[in-house]
Amino acid sequence: MNTLTLWFHKIGSPPTFYRLAGRFTPWLFALAALTGLVGLYGGLVLAPADYQQSDAYRIIFIHVPSAWMSLFIYFVMAVNAFIALVWRIKLSETLAMCCAPIGAAFTAITLATGSIWGKPMWGTWWTWDARLTSELVLLFLYVGVIGLYHAIEDRRQAARAASFLALVGIVNVPIVHFSVKWWNTLHQGSTVRLLGPSAIDASMLWPLLLMALATKLWFLGSLFARARASLLELEAGKDWAREEALRTGAAP
């Protein structure tokens, strides 16, 4: 075994991960809150009103980062699911399953803020265009993964079954992303590009990117917090979990 896999095994062992995650989580949440607040200040106060949408466009600073996260988290979940199914690594099973509720939360935010934004812009809360529909399907996929996971008794078997479903559902992610290109819809096309100039003013761009960073940090923090609880549940028979229970029980 080379040093890399050794290192991976060390980090991947539940007690080690539990300890490390416990140390990182508060920092991740704090950093997320900090960048988020700066981003929101930039977006809500510093950035000027849009010439077309007036102030309504300010929903963009939560809508778009959440939408990106809804796709990104699904991708992370699918990668973990793949590792879980092929190499049966317990940590990956846990991480995949912990991604699902966070992804569902961001998807719900995207749908809610999108339809709130749609009312003043398109005159309707909801239409059945490709982007909106595929995002709704994404929510159903998340809910299906969560539902399947909780419907099976044995935790590890449940994680594998739900991981399988998550992998099957990954086809939907490119559909969501490219839907505006493949079908002509009401929804905006891409305005932010990683390479090349973005079709958005710099005063609006930097808060947007900062919010995107904040949601990523938040995701990591939430993922670690959830993984800690799940690992405890999964390893309830092991000594380290018992020690943890007695330790936290002693200090009320």
Partner: protein, 58 residues
């Protein structure tokens, strides 16, 4: 200040969006904490039960 809150007439839309954002993330923050507390409490119960089981019959 009230101008800021009015958001050029779109205040209801903008602020309700931000409220939803805040509420969902707050739930996302609390849920794992509650879950961990429940797991730990259950574990302590199990430890206690096992202690009782090993003490009483012998």
């Amino acid at each position: 200040m009230s101008e800021f809150l009015a958001m050029g007439g779109y205040g209801a839309y903008v602020w309700s969006s931000y409220a939803i954002f805040a509420v969902v993330l707050a739930i996302d923050y609390i849920a794992p904490r509650l879950h961990r507390r429940r797991v730990l409490a259950e574990l302590r119960g199990r430890i206690k039960r096992q202690q009782k089981r090993t003490e009483t019959p012998t």
